[in-house]
Symmetry: C2
Subunit: 212 residues, 2 copies
Amino acid sequence: MTASASPIRGGTRGSRMPRDERRAQLLLVAREVFVASGYHAAGMDDIADAAGISKPVLYQHFPSKLDLYLALLDEAIDTLNVELERAVASTSDNKQRVAAATAAYFDFVNDRLGGFRLVFESDLTNEPAVRLRIDEASDRCAALISRVIAQDTGLKDGEATLLAAGMAGLLQTAARYWSRGDTQVGREEATRLISALGWRGISSFPLSHPPA
Amino acid sequence: MTASASPIRGGTRGSRMPRDERRAQLLLVAREVFVASGYHAAGMDDIADAAGISKPVLYQHFPSKLDLYLALLDEAIDTLNVELERAVASTSDNKQRVAAATAAYFDFVNDRLGGFRLVFESDLTNEPAVRLRIDEASDRCAALISRVIAQDTGLKDGEATLLAAGMAGLLQTAARYWSRGDTQVGREEATRLISALGWRGISSFPLSHPPA
DNA sequence: CGGTGAACTTACCGGCGAGTAGGGTTACCT
DNA sequence: AGGTAACCCTACTCGCCGGTAAGTTCACCG
């Protein structure tokens, strides 16, 4: 009875691998498990099983569960930041920038790998290391948006950053809501609506806001 | 050596209490602990200790840790919904409505009791019961806002709800960001800015959105 | 004053899951 | 072939924490 297994990815129990390859596979599998179950519900046994190896092997690659999780978290955060950065840099027209940023969030949330669950729906936010990273990630996103706002509206830095944080929240929440699929609105339409909402909100900001 | 204790709330170890009063105290103390540590890090022993009683007493009032948590969660969600509903009903001018809704979120997030941490920063979102409640809460908020949007802009229901979900995210995220206190902007100013952002975003929505 | 029940306590159980000890097996190089 | 190092497994420890059994003290009533 020879081993029957998917040769490409996942199981293949019994197949040895060079260190780097194994590590890469473990990261992939671990992300799937964490994304599916969250940090607490996911067991190291689960991850090992899903990867077709045993627990000690896992610990030869990552010193602890937390470290493994942080590695994945960093990866996901980096993806978001890069995508958003590229969106902002993709044009110099601010209206288009908003549209691109919106698309970036929708992309991120719609990614098959589900990295956004690690960033936006983590269940380990009380761990200082996690909290720090997530806060920093939000701040970095806000800073990116903030620069555009400040340049466009001439608002003070603190004010622009507050607005930017709100914008980030708008994009993130809308994208997540849409990805739940409870809506009839198609992706094209959804991004257009949200992008329009954001752009109208920002674009008409005068250099000094009006009285009550 | 007579017992020295704050007579009103908290410790007072050794003091017996009628059932209802005890239950109320436990809810109070438990919320503090959950808010401070999150669900997972908080132990039933911690809660019992903080309340000045022993664990079995806790279990005479709540059948399980989860039940206790859900009770608190429901409470917090209810608070938010009521406040938001009142905000929307407080006026018939939609611009004022946005301002009132913004203020409601800032109130909620700034509440000393910290109930918003249970709703917006829960670390038990993988528990179906929790997920359900939080999703329902979001949906209810979105529905409230959506009705106003639909009435004002004549958008279809799905579209209005998507925008409303985004608006809710905007308010929530901005309020949370502001409450972290990293900003120089005062509360008055912050609510005005965010409210303006939201209102501009929505108000100028035409009945049928323009082409690209 | 004796009894009855509710409030409360100490001290424990049992399971779960992160992390580890120690030994077996395969690939590769000389 | 034979040695060696890396890869991998079975089987365990151990601390933590939700939940409980059984016994104790207080308040109140006839």
